[in-house]
Symmetry: C2
DNA sequence: CGACCATGTGATAGTCACTATCATATGAGA
DNA sequence: TCTCATATGATAGTGACTATCACATGGTCG
């Protein structure tokens, strides 16, 4: 399915997301349209599909055990992002550019972001870093937003400086918020 | 168009969102399908359509002038939400239940949430409550998430206690985040 | 080796959201 | 009354998505 995604990205970049039908992608990749729907679930997810979320959560629970939550989260996320940065930088940027240029995809991407919020909230609650579900939701939401802001800033400069630098800057802003802004 | 939305909510509650076609809604409301698409833009927005966002932003810029950002925002949003609570409580709950029960709508709703983030960021930046775009994005994201968490908690108890109470609780959690969790 | 079963694939047909376009009705202003 | 602008309805078309079918593959038994 990696091949299908590659072909699709090529076509989307060349002709625009809306102008490329799933059927055309199927033909370009040498598979049937039904196969694409079976594996990805929908046109949007051909672009959005990745395997990063588990990687983000890996080590998060451990890190929460021996440091104040905000610092622990920043360190764990920073490490995970550094790995992605090293491994898949080009592909992430390609996909992000297509998403950015297309309202339909931005909407689907926002849903992913929601899922990340919920996932962080769950981890925080289970690790005892949040005392109740409301606190978990607030913490998870704030952290996911910070992560997203860092990612957008990273994309805005074309991925020049490492993601972890942007993440550190974003977290510094977050700590200022409660201090009175 | 209010009538169209009412009819649509009736049908969605009775048969389920996916089971009701736009054509059926059009017929039930005594209009043509084209009219619905013209006014709402898509099936999802028949449910999500409202006029609340400007109300949320009203007075926000003013409040930011004479108080620390977090307190000012909490007060301004609290006032706006109290008004909605008094005016449209039933309809908001109806719509939220339909959204909650339907992945397709949750996705579209997440996109709305994104827009709220961006809107808050813009206000904060213009009012000088954020010193740079990254800070504005982080603040706006954190606050929008807090607002959403409060709204979900409010819905979870069926709208029994006022939204402003949940909002106050959520903001208290947010201030704890930077203090070390 | 051949029979059996499971999973993944291709192909067909059908539904429905959404778009584009045209003719018509309604309502305001000269 | 004539005119123009805007809103509506109707029609036809595209394409995403969902069945459901038959077929190929690959592994496990007898």
């Amino acid at each position: 399915m990696r091949r299908v995604q590659e072909r699709a990205l090529d076509l989307f970049e060349a002709y625009g997301y809306a102008q490329v039908s799933v059927e055309a992608i199927a033909e370009a990749a040498g598979v049937g349209p039904a196969t694409i729907y079976r594996n990805f679930g929908g046109k949007e997810r051909i672009v959005l599909w990745d395997e990063y979320d588990p990687l983000l959560f890996a080590g998060l629970a451990d890190a929460l055990a021996d440091a104040p939550p905000l610092a622990a989260i920043q360190r764990a996320l920073g490490r995970a992002l550094a790995e992605l940065y090293a491994r898949d930088r080009e592909r992430i940027i390609r996909r992000a550019r297509i998403v950015e240029a297309n309202p339909e995809l931005r909407q689907a991407s926002a849903a992913n972001q929601e899922a990340l919020r919920a996932g962080l909230a769950e981890v925080l609650l289970k690790a005892g870093a949040a005392r109740d579900p409301l606190e978990a939701a607030v913490f998870g939401g704030a952290i996911a937003s910070t992560l997203e802001a860092a990612a957008l800033a990273w994309l805005a400069d074309g991925g020049a400086s490492p993601l972890s630098r942007h993440l550190a800057m974003a977290f510094r802003r977050l700590t200022r918020l409660c201090a009175g802004g």
